[in-house]
């Protein structure tokens, strides 16, 4: 961190007239190095954030397990076939992210845009099917005031909120991609958002197993 600050400060000072070409070249090198540190730091920050998110989800999963064994009859109301389709949709959206990323890594803007659009469409379908399942569950009397419903909605709703945030963020990334911001050399924004989206998928893998299959 201190190194990054030092490097950034070095770069931010505008070169004076007496700077030679060697100095300019040195400044360019520092600018690249500064950006490298910046990307490295933001990547580490994202992983630290994702690690902290695990604790939040684990608390909700434990609360759900307690409620699930106390109310087995409500658990039987869960729509496993619909959620299985939703699982495949989310896995496919994760694939679309890496497909888009590998596209821009090889300079293919069209693949980037198509991949990002696919993620937004698939993520939206996932969210809408989740809302449909909620309507179905509440029709069967499993509401927020029910102990099982409270644990179920808290866990899946918290995950759904992450999907929604990922979608809004995805639209922002798509807009930037559409405006040609990302290039073969500079596509860190896509990868950064991709990390978040994949994490949402990883969490869903465990939610699907613990909530719907066990």
């Amino acid at each position: 961190m201190q190194q990054e600050t030092a490097l950034t400060q070095s770069v931010s000072h505008a070169p004076t007239a007496e700077h030679t070409a060697d100095h300019a070249g040195h400044a360019d090198h520092l600018q690249v190095a500064s950006f490298t540190y910046s990307v490295a730091n933001s990547k580490m920050a994202m992983w630290l954030f994702l690690a902290s998110e695990m604790f939040l989800f684990s608390v909700l999963i434990i609360a759900y397990i307690i409620a699930r064994y106390a109310h087995p009859e409500e658990h039987a109301l869960l729509n496993v076939p619909l959620t299985s389709i939703n699982s495949f949709i989310l896995l496919l959206s994760s694939f679309s992210v890496v497909w888009a990323l590998s596209g821009i890594q090889s300079g293919n803007q069209t693949r980037l845009l198509r991949g990002l659009a696919s993620v937004i469409v698939l993520g939206s379908i996932f969210f809408l099917l989740m809302m449909y399942e909620y309507a179905e569950m509440s029709h069967h009397g499993v509401t927020l005031s029910h102990p099982f419903g409270m644990a179920f909605y808290a866990l899946t709703g918290f995950h759904g909120a992450h999907v929604l945030i990922g979608l809004v963020y995805g639209v922002y990334v798509f807009n930037r991609a559409f405006n040609g911001v990302y290039t073969k050399e500079n596509h860190w924004g896509v990868e950064f958002w991709g990390l978040y989206w994949h994490f949402v998928d990883v969490v869903w893998i465990f939610i699907f197993t613990v909530v719907y299959l066990i």
């Binding site: 690249v32 950006f35 490298t36 540190y37 990307v39 490295a40 730091n41 990547k43 580490m44 992983w47 630290l48 994702l50 690690a51 902290s52 695990m54 604790f55 684990s58 999963i61 434990i62 397990i65 307690i66 064994y69 496993v80 299985s84 699982s87 495949f88 896995l91 496919l92 994760s94 694939f95 992210v97 890496v98 497909w99 590998s102 890594q105 050399e185 500079n186 596509h187 860190w188 990868e191 991709g194 990390l195 994949h198 994490f199 998928d201 990883v202 893998i205 465990f206 699907f208 197993t209 613990v210 299959l213 066990i214």
Partner: protein, 103 residues
């Protein structure tokens, strides 16, 4: 951060060589296929009366491992990122398993 360049991707002087270290498109397709097959196996295992729960958890860990290693590129990153994620993951897993004995 001992080696920040290895954490970075994209617009750096090592951008291209770093990108080359990422998985190929073929690997991404293979991982998607593996994830789909594992999900189908999960759906079958869910109806097995015995050792169902440990099997389902193992398959879920396997699926998560595939996403982390190949889609999130942990396999190609500095190992410090793996530790940042795996230490809390293992801690959370242990606590969740312990909680099973109190349900």
């Amino acid at each position: 951060m001992s080696d920040p360049q290895h954490l970075s991707a994209g617009a750096d002087q090592h951008g291209e060589s770093h990108a080359a270290k990422h998985a190929t498109a073929g690997t991404y397709v293979a991982v998607l296929g593996a994830l789909a097959v594992l999900t189908l196996i999960e759906l079958v295992v869910a109806y097995i009366p015995i050792v169902r729960e440990p099997l389902l958890i193992i398959i879920a860990i396997g699926k998560a491992w595939l996403v982390l290693q190949f889609y999130m590129h942990l396999r190609y990153e500095n190992k410090i990122l793996t530790w940042i994620f795996m230490i809390p993951a293992v801690a959370v897993g242990i606590v969740t398993v312990i909680m099973q004995f109190f349900v």
